[in-house]
């Protein structure tokens, strides 16, 4: 019994007769590559047809990276905790701690890297509190998380008032709600390549310029912290899915009773997972304060922690899906902010093509009702696109949220969270 459960944790779909064929999020790598390539062609086509050149420009991809990274880091933090069975809605609060820790220490020591460490440490401290409350005391995970989300901003606001209103701080531009400017991290730009790609991008050739824009966005002004974050995403995959440590950690989220019967110290694994979770959220905070900006500002996180959590659910508690969710949100958030109305308007065309494509697929699979509904909505979006020249401003600023909701609604009907996620586990409760 216990053995099968552990195996279930290894390969997420349980081996029962009723199990779904291959769940979403378990696509093979080549399928993912083809899907991404197809999406890229659709975007490129939409750019060509609409003239919304910002859809694939160097600046847009750079913006996407900077908006997606904090969300991805928060989501990764959520993934670590939830894979060990602890729901961490306190990510937002831990991010706030990260912004303050980074801003304060980096300003005080003139060292961005010490700031980074402090941000991670403060985030992890939030994680420690969450772990103590939920694992040791057995408090409901949501209650503890919400408490941290209330506590952390107050804590940061209080400390920032103490730290940044001193004469030394105000002389450098600090105030009760913000720190003086702090040193940043180095950025990588490949001299010849970046400018050549920007040049190609400006020609607006089908696919060629789009690809140049994408690569250019990656190799122009790339922060070393972005590299670090991507490494953490990939590293987390290997640690959680390819090592005994990861297997045990995930077994605590699937079936802690069984894990304990096999000698796994469930409390210790949960503590480790939530600590890492807090540290990653703290790093996300550091990214917001020190990479996307150069000072701590009260309320700077703007709910990114919650969006990170959503992107993790969107990604079916898996790294690839989470990265896709964060990327999607980052892409649309950056695009709507770049003030190129034609490009945002062209998103409608992309949505229409995707809807119609999905409808055709459903038709091929003989799900005619779904196909019909999909086609009808797709046609409506096409009409909307052709009948208007731009989207209303009220709609524009919520584009990222709407897009994420749409995609979640379309693709996320077969999500499967860790079995014991969010349940309070007491040591020895299975005996």
């Amino acid at each position: 019994m216990a053995a099968t459960s552990l195996e279930g944790a290894d390969a997420p779909q349980p081996r029962t007769a009723k199990a779904a064929p291959r769940a979403v999020g378990r696509l093979r790598p080549w399928q993912v590559m083809i899907a991404l390539a197809a999406l890229f062609v659709v975007i490129s086509l939409a750019r060509q047809l609409s003239g919304g050149t910002d859809l694939t420009s160097v600046g847009q991809w750079g913006g996407t990276l900077s908006f997606a990274m904090p969300i991805g880091l928060a989501g990764l933090g959520g993934l670590w905790a939830e894979r060990a069975g602890v729901v961490n809605i306190g990510l937002e609060g831990m991010m706030v701690l990260g912004t303050f820790g980074g801003g304060y220490v980096a300003w005080h020591t003139h060292s961005a890297w010490l700031g980074l460490l402090a941000g991670i440490a403060l985030g992890a401290l939030g994680g420690l509190l969450h772990a103590y409350l939920t694992v040791t005391l057995g408090v409901d995970h949501i209650v503890s998380g919400v408490a941290i989300n209330l506590l952390a901003p107050g804590f940061a606001a209080y400390l920032s008032k103490l730290a940044f209103t001193t004469p030394a701080a105000t002389a450098q531009g600090g105030g009760q709600k913000q720190s003086p400017p702090v040193p940043g991290f180095s950025r990588i730009t490949i001299p010849g390549l970046s400018s050549w790609l920007a040049h190609l991008d400006a020609h607006h050739w089908f696919l060629v310029s789009d690809l140049a824009g994408l690569i250019g966005g990656i190799v122009t002004g790339l922060s070393v912290i972005t590299v670090l974050a991507v490494a953490l995403l990939i590293g987390s995959y290997f640690v959680l899915w390819r090592t005994p440590f990861g297997l045990r950690l995930r077994s605590c989220g699937e079936n802690p009773t069984a894990a304990e019967s096999l000698g796994v110290n469930v409390y210790r694994y949960k503590y480790a997972a939530v600590l890492v979770s807090g540290g990653l959220a703290g790093l996300g905070g550091v990214f917001i304060a020190m990479v996307n900006s150069n000072f701590f500002l009260d309320g700077q996180t703007g709910g990114r922690g919650y969006i990170g959590l959503a992107s993790m659910i969107f990604g079916n508690w898996r790294i690839g899906g989470l990265a896709a969710g964060a990327g999607l949100f980052g892409y649309t958030d950056s695009l709507q902010g770049r003030a190129d109305t034609t490009s945002v308007h062209a998103l409608l065309l992309i949505v229409a093509v995707l809807l119609i494509g999905l409808a055709l697929w459903n038709g091929y699979r003989r799900r005619y009702l779904r196909a019909g509904i999909g086609l009808a909505i797709g046609a409506l979006v096409v009409v909307w696109f052709t009948a208007t020249k731009s989207l209303p401003a009220e709609f524009l600023v919520v584009t990222p949220h709407i897009t994420t909701l749409l995609v979640m609604g379309l693709a996320s009907q077969r999500l499967r969270m860790p079995k014991a996620d969010g349940l309070v586990y007491r040591r020895g409760q299975g005996t």
């Binding site: 910002d54 009760q176 709600k177």
Partner: protein, 358 residues
């Protein structure tokens, strides 16, 4: 075990709430040479305790709130009173603002100054409850009570002048406008700026973007968003960008500076060239549209001190130096300055009427 869990949860929750609200922002700083008398303001006129409720961003936002803080500091150094300074948070409700103002009024702070139109509904209620306390509100004229001074600015006029400066400076015939929140107040900046640009050359394109839609006020405190929008405008060819977006403007100015020589940012509310937090980027700040909240706050405090508190709508415009533009850095050539001065006279004389809605 279960009971301990619930208890701990309750403790954490209550503690969290208490801290979050209490730590929100209360600080009391006292003046070294405090005046001896402890009588509260009012009939005698002497101010002893001033309550200051800042907008989102608070003291140190390098812009709007800082300007108000300067006026307060100037009065404080002259009259020597005690100050309680509080700030609004992103996404808070009218009830919380009301509580903040009421706390100040009930605590004997008189006068109480509310910075920003978001306080209007709360101020309306609190001012009625405390008829003996003098209140002032910046950027709103909906509260008309005997003990309330509505400090209003003609931002469209200063925006018009910096719009002219932008039009006379641009080489690409494209300029950008970044608004914090899509509301009537920021529309005044937008309208003035656009009119000023088109007064010089109607063919110039003004690319516009508002960072958030009301009631979401996050657009005033989102430097990442400001930076992203400025980058978007720069890549569309804009070479002068005016942001009326509180501390989000910091991000825009940094983006413009990072784009290199020949790209200009225009600051807002304070002379942003002088601000320490922007010292690294100041060589890209062409000018700033000034909104002298400091002099308005100072004049109000002075009126209370003199025993003749201002009341009703008080307009601060080009005529009385309530608004204007900055020349720090000397980036505006003398030819440009001459044109701006002429336009300034035309606005004062009424020859030019600046629109308030785009």
């Amino acid at each position: 075990m279960r009971r301990i869990g619930r208890f701990a949860a309750a403790v954490v929750c209550v503690g969290g709430l208490a801290l979050a609200t209490a730590c929100g922002s209360t600080s009391t700083s006292s003046q070294a040479h405090k005046s001896g008398s402890s009588s509260s303001a009012g009939k005698s006129g002497k101010i002893t305790k001033v309550g200051m409720a800042y907008d989102v961003g608070g003291r140190g936002d390098q812009s709007f709130n800082d300007s108000a803080a300067r006026g307060l500091d100037k009065a404080k150094s002259q009259y020597g009173f005690t100050v309680s300074e509080q700030s609004a948070q992103n996404g808070e409700t009218d009830a919380i603002r009301e509580q903040r103002l009421e706390q100040l009024a009930a605590g004997g702070y008189n006068p109480v100054i509310a910075i920003g139109y978001t306080y209007a509904p709360a101020l309306g209620k609190v001012a009625k409850k405390y008829p003996n306390t003098e209140f002032a509100i910046v950027d709103d004229s909906t509260v008309q009570l005997k003990n309330v001074a509505d400090l209003m600015f003609t931002e469209q006029q200063s925006s018009y002048l910096v719009g002219m400066a932008a039009a006379l400076t641009t080489k690409t015939n494209k300029v950008g406008f970044i608004g914090g929140v899509d509301n009537a107040l920021i529309h005044k900046f937008d309208a003035g700026f656009t009119a000023g640009v088109h007064h010089i050359n109607p063919k110039i394109t003004v690319i516009k973007k508002y960072l958030s839609e009301p009631p979401d006020t996050s657009g005033y405190a989102n430097p990442t968003g400001g930076k992203n929008t400025a980058n978007g405008m720069l890549s569309q060819g804009a070479d002068v960008i005016y942001s009326a977006a509180g501390s989000s403007g910091t991000g825009a100015i940094q983006a413009v500076h990072a784009a290199g020589k020949g790209k200009w940012a225009i600051g807002v509310d304070s002379d942003q060239y002088q601000q320490k937090a922007l010292a690294a980027d100041k060589s890209s700040i062409l000018t700033s549209a000034l909104k002298n909240v400091d002099s308005a706050v100072y004049l109000f405090l002075k009126s209370v001190q003199d025993g003749k508190p201002l009341s009703g709508t008080q307009r601060f415009n080009l005529t009385n130096n309530g608004v204007g533009y900055a020349t720090s850095g000397n980036f505006l050539t003398s030819a440009v300055q001459t044109k701006l001065k002429a336009a300034e006279q035309d606005i004062i004389s009424g020859k030019i009427t600046v629109p308030t809605t785009p």
